[in-house]
């Protein structure tokens, strides 16, 4: 696919996502692209679970002791001793300067391709540089999603070129076959490996079902559509919040 059609693909993907977000109507885009939309679920990130009293967000103020430094995750115990509050954590996310290194480490390809570097250079200005949780917004996450997609394409291409036994993620996937030949166990295995790489945990049953459902919605029956299904699974996981929780 040339640069122009690839850009078109991305633009269509973004447009589709906006529409999905807006009215959740089914899209009938059948370009050469997989239109992907998925949701990842994250423990401790559900509505109402973020409690200001329990969570301390990254404070970007200067370290001056003057401008309202963060309250921190501790209480003062007997005798003035600081006692950490066990149920609290600081919420921060990837920022523009470490996100590429993180994604590359997760997929384990060593170094990004030039295409990924180009994508990073395009998208980085939309990604907050502070890492503050409150800096997250829709354009930022679309940029992260686009970048994740490019990184995942590196992964698919790299692993396709390897013998099945040498692959980190797609060891049970037959890239020469068609999507119908991918067994349920093979999908589960790929998703599990991606989850352990990116989320540092196993996927939940709900997450597994959602991702597999999304994979099944990728149209096409050719061998290239196997690539797209794997691309879908990888992008879904890499672009999710749990992959960027710092």
């Amino acid at each position: 696919m040339n640069e122009r059609s690839r850009r078109n693909a991305q633009n269509m993907g973004n447009l589709a996502m906006r529409k999905l977000m807006k009215n959740r109507k089914f899209m009938t885009q059948t370009v050469t692209v997989a239109l992907l939309a998925v949701v990842a679920t994250f423990q401790a990130c559900g509505p109402g679970q973020l409690n200001k009293n329990q969570y301390a967000s990254l404070d970007g103020n200067a370290l001056d002791g003057v401008n309202g430094a963060n309250s921190g995750s501790f209480i003062i115990g007997p005798g003035g001793a600081m006692v950490p509050v066990e149920s609290t954590k600081t919420v921060a996310v990837s920022y523009s300067e470490n996100i590429l290194e993180s994604l590359i480490t997760i997929i384990g390809t060593g170094q990004p391709s030039q295409r990924v570097r180009d994508s990073y250079n395009r998208e980085r200005t939309k990604i907050a540089e502070s890492g503050k949780a409150e800096a997250v917004n829709a354009p930022m996450w679309m940029a992260i999603t686009n970048l994740s997609g490019e990184v995942c394409w590196d992964l698919v291409l790299a692993e396709k070129a390897l013998a099945a036994g040498s692959r980190r993620i797609f060891g049970q996937i037959n890239f020469a076959g068609n999507p119908a030949q991918i067994t349920d166990a093979a999908r589960n295995d790929a998703i599990r490996r991606l989850a352990r790489s990116a989320w540092a945990r196993n996927e939940t049953p709900e997450e597994l079902a959602l991702i597999k459902s999304g994979m099944a919605s990728v149209p096409g029956t050719a061998a290239a559509d196997v690539d797209r299904q794997m691309l879908f699974a990888c992008t879904t996981i890499l672009a999710s919040l749990d992959s960027h929780d710092r």
């Binding site: 002791g65 963060n70 030039q114």
Partner: protein
């Protein structure tokens, strides 16, 4: 309008609604065919990888703790099955969290990502993590990597640059970065810009070069006779001595190395005998305003400013004129002709009233000459070690320490002063109970 439930995407959202999930994350793009443009392989470039995932491996609480420690210290994520985490898990299980943290601080990412970005923020006025790689950043990272005494950050007479043998195209042949000392380091930032553009690992390629240099004419290299570590790097001088009156050099030295912006150490009670002639003593016709507002900053700042009497940044390079005060030190002298006129680089520390004495914990002479003495004054203070502790804390723990944590910061800073190694400081901070959640 009737909702179409036969569409896959609608089914997805239906499921979302059912299980109350949030944060729908897109997945977009891509592509059909195309080949990955291969990046020239080189061991000196950042190579990022993780171990083969084990789909059935148990994830213990200690492994999760190891994961959080590693991620916080290095600034990047890592697969839960990575062998580095396995080592850290064993150490944590044995009660040796500091040892576990040491595995993370030995990882190149700690230098190539975490410390690099910490230094980038310190290197520019905007305090932006997107600041370019520079001699300032490289020297900061190099000092940490080599386990040097962190006080040398403000007193050393060296910089870090790339070892030319490690930046050759495909590991052989021509250098991949511009490497001429005069043209690419003293007169410009080309050397470091190339290192950044080509994604070299600072951890792998940096080498210390003793003897900082400058050039007044842009053609001849001269030894920096008044070196003060980061304070006399090209980047720092460019950022703070370009135009202005060299007060910014004082202001930002305190801001970055003592974590004290001007408002945190202003003090109108100090003498104003060093306040320059360019400062209006009757702003808006009010001498009281000068006494209460202007003087509070200028009394201490101008007394320190003399340290930079001979330095300037012009034409893209640092200029040094030992014994000859640069013109901008005495500009606008008609504003208040009875003010102080700089004649040499002798400075005085007026930040010694009780509040600032406690804040900075001075352990050096109350006066000195030039930038090197100034750098040593800061480096030897308690304020410097506390500030480094706060900066490392903010980088690793992802938040600034709160006022009530000041006591803990001081304890950690005291430990840091045992050997002044930034690597050890990062380990101590990371395993402190106030840093990373144990959930």
């Amino acid at each position: 309008m009737k909702k179409r439930t036969d569409a896959p995407t609608d089914r997805l959202f239906e499921k979302i609604g059912k299980i109350g999930m949030v944060l729908p994350v897109a997945a977009a793009s891509l592509l059909s065919t195309g080949s990955v443009a291969q990046v020239a392989g080189s061991p000196a470039k950042m190579t990022l990888g993780s171990a083969m995932p084990d789909p059935n491996g148990e994830i213990t609480a200690d492994r999760q703790r190891a994961y959080r420690l590693f991620k916080a210290i290095t600034g990047i994520a890592i697969a839960i099955d990575d062998s580095r985490l396995a080592q850290m898990e064993s150490l944590i299980a044995a009660g040796n969290e500091k040892g576990a943290a040491a595995i993370a601080t030995s990882d190149p990412s700690f230098y190539d990502v975490q410390l690099r970005d910490l230094a980038r923020k310190m290197s520019v006025r905007e305090e932006s993590v997107t600041a370019p790689l520079s001699d300032f950043v490289a020297t900061f990272v190099g000092v940490a990597r080599d386990g040097l005494d962190a006080r040398e950050l403000l007193s050393g007479n060296f910089i870090y640059r790339a070892d030319i043998a490690k930046v050759l195209v495909n590991g052989q042949g021509q250098p991949e970065v511009r490497n001429d000392t005069l043209a690419d380091i003293v007169n410009s930032n080309n050397h470091y810009a190339d290192l950044q553009a080509r994604s070299y690992s600072l951890y792998s390629v940096l080498v210390r070069e003793n003897g900082q240099q400058y050039s007044n004419d842009g053609e001849t290299l001269q030894p920096m006779t008044d070196a003060a570590g980061l304070i006399t790097t090209r980047q720092w001088i460019r950022e703070h001595a370009d135009a202005g009156t060299n007060r910014r050099l004082v202001e930002f030295s305190f801001r970055q190395f003592m974590c004290a912006p001007m408002e945190a150490w202003m003090d109108a009670s100090r003498p104003d005998d060093f306040v320059g002639r360019d400062v209006d003593r009757f702003p808006g016709g009010s001498h009281e305003k000068y006494q209460v507002t202007c003087k509070a900053c200028h009394t201490q700042m101008d007394a320190f400013r003399q340290a930079f009497a001979y330095v300037n940044f012009a034409g893209g390079r640092t200029r040094l004129t030992p014994g000859q005060v640069v013109g901008k030190m005495n500009r606008n002298s008609n504003m208040f002709p009875s003010g102080y006129s700089t004649t040499n680089d002798r400075w005085v520390n007026y930040a010694t009233a009780p509040r600032n004495a406690d804040q900075f914990g001075w352990r050096g002479p109350a006066s000195g000459s030039g930038m090197a003495d100034f750098g040593r004054l800061l480096a030897n203070s308690k304020g410097f070690s506390r500030c480094m502790t706060k900066r490392v804390f903010a980088s690793i723990c992802k938040r600034a320490p709160g006022p009530a944590e000041e006591a803990a910061i001081r304890v950690i800073a005291d430990q840091f002063e045992g050997d002044y190694k930034l690597k050890g400081l990062a380990e101590t901070v990371a395993v402190s109970p106030i840093c990373i959640s144990r959930e």
